[in-house]
Amino acid sequence: MANPIGISLTGKAHFDAVPLFDQLELTLKPGEWTCLLGPSGIGKTTILRLIAGLAAGVTFEGSIDATDGQPLSDRLAYMAQTDLLMPWATVLDNVLIGARLRGSNGDKDKAQDLLAKLELADHISKKPSALSGGQRQRVALARTLMEERSIVLLDEPFSALDARMRSEMQELAAEWLQHSTILLVTHDPAEAARLGETIYLMSEKGLSEVEPPASPAVRAVDDEAMLACQGRLLKQLREARS
């Protein structure tokens, strides 16, 4: 992977006549975790899709640039809010689909390793229909991690996981993506407080930056600064109506 890239997005967006968000500015610092927190329906997914070059239906007036001025495509990985697994392919094939679509065979050993770390070792040759909701989400996560891209966009990647699994997966992702620039969309203040090096709170009024905990990410599950930050976020979130 090359040097990490930063991204800045400025602009406003609307659906036909309905405005979605007014002029805002969002910056992803190179090689860091940026968390985007906000109430349901505020436009988090839309922002992610705009960066990924996917948003259809929405009209965006503004610009999305990488710090190195190069185009973003082929340096992105994107994990959507739904798992988007292919029902006809095994778990392993689903995880390797990116490489396969680009014409290589993909690194099977690495994928198996990763799946084992995601506690899916027993399910490697199952079809997605024989997986539980949380297992499907982890397969989608594995697929995204296998891409090894410099910019990784994650849309609520841990929402279907239980507390233990969630914190383990957060640690795993942080380790795996050390050299990437990450935008994490989440509705969980604890998650933002634990992983965020920059934290944005999106509300009807726009985007506001929240001071992240002083301690370095990934914070321990009982880190004091983190718990304080989580409390702050929770309070602000309660106030932000969508």
């Binding site: 990924a52 070059g53 994107y78 959507a80 739904t82 990116g98 679509l101 680009r102």
Partner: protein
């Protein structure tokens, strides 16, 4: 397969055949249809038995054409759909030509085909293929153009190349449509082969039927038709089973 299941799969065509015979007999008995227009099943089965060698011999030829036509037609239809799905240019220009092939009546095509291919089996197969491939091509193409958006988005972000997206995502996702087309094609295959035989043949059920119809025996024609119908039913059931399995495999 359990006993009841295998019994079931034997009973099904039997029940259907019985129903068809019953409808047929009822038509003849109550609708007052003269036997030179529709002979009763008894008479036809009689002829079927007495001409069994003749009919069997011609059936074999037609069955062979049906199988060849179905395999070639499915391949050709599949490839056509894949081509159309990848190239907007092909959709723009070639699709209308394919649609056209379905608008041409046999008698307009027959002299052309025989001019090029002669009176051998190839002109017959081509005619059959022409009829069979279109449902496969059309349905499969429709399926290929309706891949769920989410997967295409994913593939786009992954910088997949178009061919591989087709192969790994659009094609498997279109399997139910492909199967639907194949099911249709299986029903058309026997009549396709028969129509192929009208291009000029001296063998096959189509030949036998035209011959019998033209200036000979209606009984023989209906006996041949009965065999053709049976062939169609068997093919329909067989291909249906294959399709079900295919869909189950691709969910």
């Amino acid at each position: 397969m359990t006993l009841s299941k295998s019994l079931h799969s034997v009973l099904r065509p039997l029940a259907a055949t019985a129903l068809i015979l019953a409808i047929w007999q009822a038509l003849v008995s109550f609708a007052d249809i003269p036997s030179f227009i529709l002979p009763g099943p008894g008479k036809v089965i009689n002829t079927l038995w007495s001409s069994r060698e003749l009919i069997f011999e011609h059936s074999l030829i037609t069955a062979w054409e049906v199988i060849l036509g179905l395999v070639l037609g499915t391949l050709l239809g599949g490839l056509t759909a894949l081509n159309l799905a990848t190239s907007p240019m092909a959709r723009y220009l070639i699709k209308p030509v394919l649609v056209l092939t379905q608008a041409l009546p046999v008698f307009a095509l027959a002299p052309l085909l025989t001019l090029w291919l002669g009176y051998g089996i190839s002109s017959k197969i081509l005619m059959a293929v022409l009829i069979i491939y279109f449902p496969v091509a059309s349905s499969f193409f429709d399926g290929l153009m309706q891949t769920p958006k989410g997967w295409l988005d994913l593939a786009h972000v992954m910088n997949g190349n178009a061919k591989r997206i087709l192969w790994r995502i659009r094609m498997p996702a279109a399997i139910p449509s492909f199967a639907s087309g194949l099911r249709l094609a299986a029903v058309y295959a026997p009549i396709g082969a028969v129509i192929g035989e009208w291009v000029g043949a001296s063998k096959g059920l189509g030949y036998l039927m035209l011959l019998a119809n033209g200036r000979a025996k209606i009984d023989l024609m209906f006996a041949a038709l009965f065999v053709l119908a049976l062939l169609t039913l068997l093919l329909h059931i067989g291909v249906g089973k294959i399709c079900d399995r295919l869909i189950r495999h691709y969910q």
